[in-house]
């Protein structure tokens, strides 16, 4: 069955399912008519270094993807839709075995003004070491991004997706396999788009896989940012940490739902997830559902937590006593809150670049 037929056969998803509880499929479909598969454009993609120079050989974008997609999970609907819609915009990002450029590489995606979609398959070679930032910009009403593929054995990857669209809807789905002993930091920095629905899944099917999933989410005005993160431990000695920080201003709403599964046989698995929400205004709203399913008893530990609250009055007092005015004290604390996950996403150079990209958004935040 091709992806388009699969999408049609799956029908309307159930709103009772928490995957669709807060953001319905209809709201993130390009036209709202879910029976329709409208023609969508292609975004522009380019690879480069932070200074705008060409990347070294060892990393490249190749048109087309190989292999079949896994439709066995409940992201099948989104993935089938995005895959089928991206028929003429399918790319494989190839990183050669042992490639280690030593500097971050930027994959810039410019969706243009009309609705567009891309499918990028990651093929990160064994024992490579790479920092990759996927930066999404533009003023498109709708953009869809499907990322699949694998980070192969022993690879070390800092993989950051930076969403800075000025408006519109972002529908994103990741389904990435982590190889044996691979070490991954998967960062999401989101401060664009009026509406985001992201479904991020990481599958550790080989022993020794290690992932840190990090989120720095800044929402303002009437933004609606919904992130669902799944981490599946399917092999022994796998390790994961999920740390998700959302700062919500205006009348925005952020949703963070997590699913951590430890399959039977994943002995020695060590997993934890935490969601922190900072509510900055009276009408902001934050929802968290950190879920756990543990089917193995011989685990190092498995836990989750969530905390919601306003800006700490003591911290405000401390800063004001040292000469900060109300607004600058508040924005410093928001920046510090978001920075605690941002600073984990990569090395110093990448961190400084991310801070500079986000600072304008932070200044414009109306709390």
């Amino acid at each position: 069955m091709d992806s388009a037929s699969r999408y049609i056969s799956l029908g309307k998803p159930n709103r009772a399912d928490h995957l669709w509880r807060y953001t319905s499929w209809k709201k993130v479909h390009p036209t709202g008519d879910i029976a329709e598969m409208p023609p969508l454009g292609q975004p522009e993609l380019s690879l480069g270094m932070m200074d705008g120079s060409e990347p070294p050989s060892g990393i490249r974008l190749e048109q087309g993807i190989e292999g079949d997609l896994d439709f066995s999970m409940d992201n099948a609907l989104t993935n089938a839709f995005l895959h089928a819609s991206a028929k003429s915009s399918q790319w494989t990002l190839v990183v050669d075995k042992g490639f280690a450029p030593g500097k971050p590489i930027i994959l810039e995606i410019r969706p243009g003004d009309s609705p567009s979609v891309a499918h990028i398959s990651l093929d990160i070679g064994e024992i490579s070491e790479i920092e990759l930032v996927t930066k999404i910009t533009g003023r498109s009403e709708w953009f869809g991004l499907l990322r699949t593929g694998q980070i192969r054995n022993g690879a070390i990857m800092n993989d950051v997706v930076l969403g800075l669209q000025e408006k519109g809807t972002l529908l994103r789905s990741d389904a990435i396999a982590i190889g044996r002993d691979a070490q991954v930091r998967a960062g999401t920095v989101s401060s664009g788009s009026e509406r985001t629905k992201a479904d991020l899944r990481y599958i550790m099917g080989d022993p020794g896989g290690n992932i840190r999933v990090l989120g720095s989410i800044l929402s303002a005005d009437s933004m609606h940012l919904d992130h669902h993160i799944e981490i599946h431990h399917e092999a022994p000695e796998t390790f994961s940490r999920l740390s998700w920080h959302s700062a919500c201003g205006g009348s925005s709403r952020t949703i963070g739902t997590g699913m951590l599964t430890i399959r039977k046989g994943s002995k020695g698995a060590d997993a934890a997830q935490i969601f922190h929400n900072l509510l900055l205004s009276e009408s902001a709203k934050a929802d968290s559902i950190p879920e756990l399913e543990v089917m193995e008893n011989d685990v190092v530990g498995c836990g989750h937590g969530t905390a919601n609250g306003p800006i700490d009055e003591d911290q405000m007092f401390y800063l004001k006593a040292r000469g900060f005015d109300e607004d600058s004290a508040k924005s410093s604390l928001i920046a510090a809150f978001l920075n605690s996950t941002l600073s984990e996403m990569g090395g110093t150079e990448l961190h400084e670049w991310l801070v500079s990209e986000l600072s304008l958004k932070l200044e414009a935040l109306d709390t």
Partner: protein, 470 residues
């Protein structure tokens, strides 16, 4: 081992798994219809308004689909056509144990209820199948105006109070099983505590299913008037049969300003009972509602004691433990809705899975936009004792007020080798050590129970831990 032998003597195998011959005075045929619903109401000589609610609830039950979450495969196994919806075992409710029919009295004597009543209870109600067979309350409480009746008598003697509050906390359309309960409810407790009265010793209800393929649908309504307090304790057992029974209760608590209701449950149904219960309370200004909830038995339990914090300064606490053994799924949790300012809540959930059992915590906490300065804390801890067992946590937190301080934490782990080693190095066997660790794990719950219940729970857990090692 000595400790476990004591436990064996005290508890036996599933100690309540025996059954008595069925001596029913009225027994309905299997299956549910509008006629059955009307006939139950007719038998009880209920007022017209109650019959109407029952019929509307029945119609809702019939058209409402089964839940699409939880253990759907187990839920689908319930055969609603193979359940007896009403069975009367005694002509009337007695208030002297000597008047209760011999076989039923023997049942409750074996469960130790009359003895417990004499020792430490303010009142007792004992329900056998569909109706209450014994009921008593201490005279001094009665003189203070405390009403403690079975629900059928409550409706007969105080229809105006029942009409005011019935379905006010759990509407029949709340869920499929609250609709079923409203349609065919029978028995349960009705309690009204007048303003300023404190019921110092707990009152207890004991629920027993004896017949095969039985459905027990008790309905409990507790109203604590301003500044009053009460502690209600319920226990439940059933015989072990090869076919399944259904227990689907609805409990409504109304804590008026400044009052305090504590509702403790030790659910120890046999492993052939579906336990699908809706429990909810409303706390008015500065009132306090506590659910202390122990789930040891049943095949599938789906139970999420809830509190609606409606009044400013009200407080809710839910402390629950669940033990899931072979073939069991304890899907339990808590729900708390902060609707008013300065409300606080605390949820502590502990679960143990063993022999392939599955324990799930499913919870929801919401803070409404108008509820300022709320504080809430949720802690879930789970132990998985062996391979093949499973633990899940499904918490939901929806916060729409920036002044709220909300915390949730959960952990799943195994019994630590260091703890076992420590106890074994002091002369305990591995099995004893494990039982001690498990009892310690449950201690935040057991310390909230009346002493007799706490001792029995510890013995039960020690017994369950037998054969865990090796």
């Amino acid at each position: 081992m000595a400790e476990n032998n004591d436990a064996r003597e005290a508890v036996g195998e599933y100690k309540a798994g025996w059954h008595d011959p069925e001596n029913s005075t009225i027994r309905f045929d299997f299956g549910l219809s509008e006629e059955v619903v009307r006939e139950i109401s007719n038998l009880k000589n209920e007022p017209e308004w109650m019959t109407e609610i029952r019929v509307r609830a029945f119609k809702h039950f019939m058209k409402r689909p089964m839940p699409t979450w939880g253990n759907m495969s187990m839920l689908e196994e319930i055969d609603f056509d193979n359940i007896c919806y009403f069975l009367r075992s005694s002509d009337s409710t007695k208030n002297d144990w000597d008047d209760v029919p011999d076989d039923i009295r023997n049942t409750f004597e074996r469960l130790g209820i009359p003895e417990a009543e004499q020792k430490w209870l303010s009142g007792v109600t004992a329900q056998y199948e569909s109706e209450t067979v014994y009921h008593s309350i201490r005279e001094d409480l009665e003189k203070q105006g405390v009403i403690f009746l079975d629900m059928d008598s409550g409706l007969r003697e105080h229809p105006e109070i029942v009409k005011k509050w019935f379905c006010s906390v759990v509407p029949f359309a709340d869920n499929k099983f609250s609709a079923l309960n409203t349609a065919v409810w029978s028995g349960g407790s009705f309690i009204y505590v007048p303003e300023g009265v404190h019921v110092e010793m707990p009152v207890q209800a004991y629920f027993r299913i004896n017949a095969k393929n039985m459905g027990q649908f008790e309905r409990t309504l507790i109203i604590a008037d301003k500044g009053s307090s009460i502690h209600y304790v319920e226990g439940c057992t059933a015989p072990t049969y090869s076919t399944d029974s259904l227990h689907s209760a609805v409990v409504e608590l109304i804590a008026l300003p400044g009052s305090h209701i504590r509702y403790s449950t030790i659910q120890n149904w046999s492993s052939n009972v579906y336990n699908l219960v809706t429990k909810r309370g409303i706390a008015h200004e500065k009132a306090k509602i506590e659910w202390v909830d122990g789930n040891i038995g049943s095949k599938l339990t789906m139970k999420y004691p809830s509190v609606i914090l409606k009044g400013e300064g009200s407080h809710a606490e839910v402390i629950s433990v669940a033990y899931s053994g072979e073939g069991q799924h304890q899907d339990a949790g808590a729900k708390i809705h902060h609707l008013a300012s300065n409300t606080t809540s605390k949820i502590l959930s502990k679960s143990i899975s063993k022999n392939g059992g599955r324990g799930s915590y499913r919870g929801m906490v919401t803070v409404s936009p108008k509820a300022d300065n709320c504080k809430l804390n949720v802690v879930c801890d789970a132990l998985i004792l062996d391979e093949g067992s499973r633990s899940d946590t499904y918490p939901t937190m929806e916060v729409a007020n920036s002044t709220a301080r909300c915390e949730h934490e959960a952990s799943v782990s195994k019994v630590s080798d260091e703890q076992l080693f420590y106890l074994m190095s002091r002369g305990h066997s591995e099995e004893e050590s494990l039982a001690m660790i498990v009892n310690g794990f449950f201690e935040p719950f057991t310390r909230e129970l009346p002493m007799e219940y706490a001792v029995e729970l510890n013995q039960l857990m020690a017994l369950e831990m037998e054969g865990s090692i090796g």
